[in-house]
C-alpha cells in the first residue's frame, strides 16, 4: 500500500527551527513504522536521523511520537496507525527533550534522573547461602517494574513535565520502585531524599498518560502511587518495616 509519512526534521547545522518533510513509500500493512523509516533513510533520504537497534521492542532506542502518541517505531505496525482517509502518518521526536537532530533527542537529563534514584540493589549483608532466598510471591511483587527499557516514552507523555521540568519523572520512579519492592533490597532510606523531595514522587498528579503510552505496558501510575504510600507509611513510623535495617 502507498502511505505518506510526515516527518519532523531539524538539523542543528542548517536549520533554525523544525519543519515537516513528506515522503511517499510503498509498504505492507504489517510492516513496522521502523521499516518504513529505514526504507526512507536507505532509498530516499540518507540525511534522516533516528536511533534504532533491536527492531522488536526490547532495546528502547526508537521511542518517538507517531500520530501524536509516544510509541516505539519497531513495535508499531503501519496498519495500527494508518487512517482510512489516506492522511499522512505524522512522525515527531519525543517532547520535553532537546532535539539533537530530526527524531533524535538528548536523553542526558533523563539518564541523570534515572541515576539519581540509585538504581542498583542496595544490600551489603554477606550472602549466607549461594543465592539469596526469595519466594515466587516476593519475586512477583516487583515483576512489572523490571520490564522497563528506559525508552523515555513516559517522560515525553507526562503533562507534569511540561510545567515542572525538574520532576523526577515516571521512568526513574519505576526504577526506584523496582528495588523498593524487591525483598532483597535495603535501600529505602538512601533513596528517600530524592523520592520524597519536592521534585520526587509528589508532583505526579495521576494523569495516567505514562501508563497509557508505556510500550511495555507497565502500570506506571500505580507504581508511583505505591511509592507515595510507602513514603507516607514510613513517615508514620520511621525505621519500621521498610525493608531497611539501617
Amino acid at each position: 500500500m502507498e502511505v505518506t509519512l510526515e516527518i519532523q526534521r531539524f538539523n542543528p547545522e542548517t536549520d533554525t527551527k523544525p519543519a515537516f518533510s513528506h515522503y511517499q513509500i510503498n509498504v505492507q500493512p504489517t510492516d513496522r513504522i521502523l521499516d518504513a523509516l529505514m526504507q526512507i533513510k536507505r532509498l530516499q533520504d540518507g540525511t534522516l536521523a533516528l536511533r534504532k537497534s533491536c527492531a522488536h521492542g526490547v532495546c528502547g532506542s526508537d521511542a518517538m511520537r507517531i500520530n501524536g502518541k509516544e510509541r516505539l517505531a519497531c513495535k508499531t505496525l503501519v496498519q495500527d496507525v494508518v487512517g482510512s482517509d489516506s492522511a499522512p502518518i505524522r512522525i515527531e521526536p519525543l517532547r520535553d527533550f532537546p532535539i539533537e537532530r530530526d527524531l533524535m533527542v538528548d536523553q542526558q537529563t533523563f539518564f541523570e534522573k534515572y541515576r539519581s534514584v540509585k538504581p542498583f540493589l542496595i544490600n551489603d549483608d554477606p550472602v549466607e547461602q549461594k543465592e539469596r532466598i526469595q519466594s515466587p510471591e516476593q519475586r512477583r511483587a516487583f515483576e512489572d517494574a523490571t520490564n522497563c527499557i528506559l525508552c523515555s516514552a513516559c517522560f515525553s507523555a507526562c503533562p507534569v513535565m511540561e510545567t515542572n521540568p525538574q520532576f523526577l519523572g515516571p521512568a526513574a520512579i519505576v526504577q526506584a520502585a523496582r528495588f523498593l519492592d524487591d525483598s532483597r533490597d535495603m535501600g529505602f532510606e538512601p533513596r528517600l531524599p530524592i523520592l520524597d523531595g519536592p521534585n520526587g514522587v509528589w508532583p505526579c498528579e495521576n494523569h495516567f498518560a505514562c501508563t497509557r503510552v508505556c510500550p511495555r505496558e507497565i502500570k506506571i501510575t500505580k507504581l508511583i502511587n505505591q511509592t507515595k504510600r510507602k513514603i507516607k507509611k514510613y513517615r508514620e513510623s520511621p525505621g519500621g518495616k521498610m525493608n531497611d535495617r539501617r
Binding site: 537497534s53 532495546c59 539533537e100 540493589l121 516487583f142
Partner: protein, 577 residues
C-alpha cells in the same frame, strides 16, 4: 581529541560491562560503545543462562561441559568448556547477589528449566539447567550489569563508533573512534583494549539480530591483520517469526511446545528420537528445512521461505503468562495471535556467530596457529571465539560465555595494565580521517542500500543452512563484486553532527568484509559439522577437518590456516540425540 586510559572496553553488552566492572576498580577504564549501554543486544536474549546449580534436579558442571562439547560437534576446545561450565555456577550466583531477578522455585531458589541439548549423565535425557528470568533473561542481565556500572562509577563514552585499532606489531596501543554527536575522530590510547562488540547476523536477510550487530570488532581487527577463527560456523535458530526473524525462544520448547509440519505431525520424532524438539539448534533447523523441501511446510511449495508451526497451545495461558510473557507480546504485536490459542508460524533465523576473534581462556587474542599471542589485545562475548561453542552453540551458553569470559578477560587486563606503559604510535587517527573524508569527497555514488540488500540475499540463499561448492563459489564472486561497488558509495548526508548515515556505511563495509570471510571459510571446509552442512560433503570428517580454521584477509585475497582443537577429555563420537 586524544584520551589516555589503562584499559578500554569496546562494546557495552554483557561481556563488555562485566569486564569493565572487573577492571574499573583497579585500573582507569573507559567503555566505548556505539549504543547507549542498555540498548545492547544482550538485552534481547530470552530463554536463560545455563549453569549446573542442581536446584530442581541433580546436575553437574561436567555434564554441562560434555553437552557443550557434543553440541558443538567436537570442535569445542574441551578445557575451555570445563571452565565455562564450572565457572557458570558462581557466575549465576554473582548475578543473583547483584540483584538479578531470576524466577524462583517454591522454596525460593533460582528456578531452572530445560533447554536444547542440555542433558543429564552424558545424554540420557533433558535436564533442567537454564536459570531464567521469565523470557527476558538477557534484559535482566544487561540491566543488572549496567546498574552495577552506575554503582561503581564506570566511565562511558556513549555513541562512539570504533573504526580502527592501533597495533605496533603484536602489541595493542588503543583504538580510534568517531563520535556520533560531533563527527569528531577521537584517539583512545590504552595499555589494553577489549573488543566485546557482539555478533554480525545482519549479513543475512532473515535474522534475529539487531541493526547494531554488524561485527565492527572482528572487521576492524581483521583489517589490521588479526586472524578470525571458524567463521564458517553461523547458527540459524530454528524458531524465528516467519518473514521477520524475530526470535521465539527455545524456552517455548523447553516448557513443552512442539514443532509441527503441514500434516500436524511432530516431525522431530523422526530426527531426534530422544531429545525430540530439544535437540541442538543446528539439527532442528536442518529438520525444518528438510520438511520444507519435502513439501511439508505449511504452504507446501518447497520454497526456502516456507515455514512450520510452533505449537504452545498445550502449555495453557497461565504458564505462558508466567514464563513466556515476552513471546506472547511479540505474537500479539507482530502476528496478531495468542500463542495459548494458536500455533506460531516460524522459520529458521540467522542468530549467532560461533566464530570470531580467536582468544585463549583469558580473553587474550591469538595471533596464529602456533600459539603466539597479541599483547594488550583482548576479546570476549559473541565477537570472540574461545572456542566454547565449536561448530554449534547450545542455547543458554551465549549468556554463560559473556559472563564467564567477560569476567576472565577483565581480570587479566586489570593485572596486565599494571605491568606495561602506554605506547605512543604517532599519527594514530590519520587513516580513519582519510576513510571518512573519502566518503564525503563530493563525488556522487550510491548510498549502499542495494549493496546491503544483495549481500543479505546472497548470504541467506547461498551460505545459509545447507551449502554446496557451486553456490558458495557464486557467493564469493558476488561478494567480491559488491566490495568493488562499495568503493563508490558516498554519503548524502554531509553534516558532521549526528550523521547516522556515516555509521550505516561504515557498518556495511564491516559486514561485507565478514560476509566474504564467512563464505570463503565455508567453501574451504569440505565436511559437514554442526551448523556447517554441505550437500556435497554430508559427513563429518575428523581425519581431515577436526581443526579450527583461521583466516587472514589481505586486500582481496583470503589466506587460510588452521589451529588444533583441544580434545583432551572426550574422544569425538558420532553425534546422536
Amino acid at each position: 581529541m586524544i584520551h589516555e586510559f589503562d584499559a578500554v572496553v569496546v562494546g557495552a553488552g554483557g561481556a563488555g560491562l562485566y569486564a569493565a566492572l572487573e577492571t574499573s576498580s583497579k585500573a582507569k577504564t573507559a567503555v566505548v560503545s556505539k549504543l547507549y549501554p542498555i540498548r545492547s543486544h544482550t538485552g534481547a536474549a530470552q530463554g536463560g543462562i545455563g549453569a549446573a546449580l542442581g536446584n530442581v534436579e541433580e546436575d553437574k558442571p561436567e555434564w554441562h561441559a560434555f553437552d557443550t562439547v557434543k553440541g558443538g560437534d567436537y570442535l569445542v576446545d574441551q578445557s575451555a568448556a570445563i571452565i565455562l561450565a564450572e565457572e557458570a555456577v558462581q557466575a549465576v550466583y554473582d548475578l543473583e547477589n547483584r540483584g538479578l531477578p531470576f524466577n524462583r522455585t517454591p522454596d525460593g531458589k533460582i528456578d531452572q528449566r530445560r533447554f536444547g541439548g542440555h542433558t543429564r549423565n552424558f545424554g540420557e535425557t533433558a535436564v533442567r539447567r537454564s536459570c531464567y528470568a521469565a523470557d527476558r533473561t538477557g534484559h535482566m542481565i544487561l540491566q543488572t550489569l549496567y546498574q552495577q556500572c552506575i554503582k561503581n562509577n564506570v566511565s562511558f563514552f556513549d555513541e562512539f563508533q570504533v573504526i580502527d585499532v592501533m597495533l605496533d606489531g603484536r602489541r595493542c596501543g588503543g583504538v580510534v573512534a568517531v563520535e556520533l554527536a560531533t563527527g569528531d575522530v577521537h584517539v583512545f590510547r590504552a595499555k589494553a583494549v577489549l573488543f566485546a562488540t557482539g555478533g554480525f547476523g545482519r549479513m543475512f536477510k532473515i535474522t534475529s539480530n539487531a541493526y547494531a550487530n554488524t561485527g565492527d570488532g572482528p572487521a576492524v581487527l581483521a583489517r589490521r591483520g588479526v586472524p578470525l577463527e571458524d567463521m564458517e560456523f553461523f547458527q540459524f535458530h530454528p524458531t524465528g517469526i516467519r518473514g521477520m526473524g524475530i526470535l521465539i525462544t527455545e524456552g517455548v520448547r523447553g516448557e513443552g511446545g512442539v514443532l509441527r509440519n503441514n500434516a500436524g505431525e511432530r516431525f522431530m520424532e523422526r530426527y531426534a528420537p530422544t531429545l525430540l524438539d530439544l535437540a541442538p539448534r543446528d539439527m532442528v533447523s536442518r529438520a525444518i528445512l528438510t520438511e520444507i523441501k519435502a513439501g511439508k511446510g505449511i504452504r507446501g511449495d518447497r520454497q526456502i521461505d516456507d515455514y512450520v508451526l510452533l505449537d504452545a497451545t498445550l502449555l495453557g495461558k497461565e504458564v505462558i503468562q508466567a514464563k513466556l510473557p515476552e513471546i506472547a507480546g511479540f505474537c500479539k504485536t507482530y502476528l496478531g495471535l495468542d500463542p495459548a490459542e494458536q500455533p506460531m508460524p516460524v522459520q529458521p533465523t540467522a542468530h549467532y556467530a560461533m566464530g570470531g576473534i580467536p582468544t585463549d581462556v583469558r580473553g587474550r587474542v591469538v595471533a596464529d596457529g602456533e600459539g603466539d599471542m597479541y599483547q594488550g589485545l583482548y576479546a570476549a562475548g559473541e565477537c570472540a571465539c574461545v572456542s566454547v561453542h565449536g561448530a554449534n552453540r547450545l542455547g543458554t551458553n551465549s549468556l554463560v560465555d559473556l559472563i564467564v569470559f567477560g569476567r576472565r578477560a577483565g581480570r587479566h587486563m586489570a593485572d596486565f595494565v599494571r605491568q606495561v606503559d602506554l605506547l605512543s604510535l604517532g599519527e594514530e587517527a590519520s587513516a580513519s580521517k582519510e576513510r571518512i573524508a573519502e566518503l564525503t569527497d563530493g563525488k556522487r555514488g550510491s548510498h549502499g542500500a542495494e549493496i546491503r540488500e544483495t549481500m543479505e540475499a546472497v548470504m541467506m540463499e547461498k551460505v545459509g543452512i545447507y551449502r554446496n561448492d557451486k553456490q558458495m563459489t557464486r557467493a564469493v564472486d558476488r561478494l567480491q563484486e559488491l566490495r568493488q561497488d562499495y568503493r563508490d558509495v558516498r554519503m548524502q548526508d554531509t553534516s558532521k553532527r549526528f550523521n547516522t548515515e556515516l555509521l550505516e556505511i561504515l557498518e556495511l563495509g564491516n559486514l561485507l568484509y565478514l560476509s566474504l570471510i564467512t563464505a570463503e571459510s565455508a567453501r574451504n571446509r569440505k565436511e559437514s559439522r554442526g551448523a556447517h552442512s554441505r550437500e556435497d560433503y554430508p559427513e563429518r570428517d575428523d581425519a581431515n577437518w577436526l581443526k579450527h580454521t583461521l583466516t587472514w584477509l589481505a586486500g582481496d585475497v583470503i589466506r587460510i590456516g588452521y589451529k588444533p582443537v583441544d580434545i583432551s577429555i572426550w574422544k569425538p563420537k558420532p553425534r546422536k540425540y
